[in-house]
Symmetry: C2
Subunit: 138 residues, 2 copies
């Protein structure tokens, strides 16, 4: 599981470089650091992204509230936009703004189809090559 | 040597956190990535720093030109200020702006007392807590 996580983080880092961002993997949370760290950090001189990477076989799943809080805390200090980067098996990456996540009553976050495909974006939308425009917002 | 490098990078990361920057170590250059990576990246919402970490027993020493080029290249894409962070044994950290380095005829960079103590700055000057003011610039 840890190995797969590292492989996916490297995959995302390479995709970001190809999209005009300089990107790096942060050291794993198993390191000596007690500071909150995202999995991947990227910048293109205008925007800075901090991404918590998740991989799952299927939806829905839940992210503990403290993980999202750590991501927000890091971004608040560093100066970056917080995202969850999700790789569902055999599918392309999806990215969800932390503000677009759904909080459960138990203070965790529910990642379901609506969050991933309705609110989330693909790599092109994330990196600003194209933007999903919703003409009629309901 | 590699172990010492990692320890010093962690030391610098912790100093930066205490100075109001969110900081991370980048994966070692021994990783799969072929992209140019600095040793430490930090941000405080206003400024972004990319630091190549060096430790030496004494001065002067030389940094290969391609290392500085890689650092500049990363910074140009990511959007960060490029620095060399130097820890001479038993002394405090010194930081030198890449533009303040001295290029040799062999296209390398010479790090000597003038560069480190004349042009370089300490952690407070780097992080903007205080600024070295030169009233009479000669």
């Amino acid at each position: 599981m840890k190995k797969k996580g590292a492989r996916l983080e490297r995959e995302l880092v390479n995709i970001l470089w190809r999209s005009g961002f300089a990107a790096i993997r942060a050291p794993s949370s198993g390191s000596a650091s007690k500071n909150p760290l995202p999995d991947v950090i990227a910048g293109n001189g205008k925007r800075y992204l901090a991404i918590e990477v998740k991989s799952r076989k299927k939806l829905p799943f839940y992210i503990p509230g403290n993980e999202i809080k750590s991501l927000r805390d890091f971004c608040g200090i560093f100066g970056a936009e917080p995202y969850v980067g999700l790789r569902i098996d055999y599918q392309d990456w999806r990215f969800i703004r932390v503000d677009d996540l759904k909080k459960t009553e138990g203070e965790n976050y529910r990642i379901d189809e609506d969050v991933v495909f309705g609110r989330g974006m693909d790599i092109h939308e994330l990196t600003g090559v194209s933007r999903q425009v919703k003409l009629f917002k309901d």
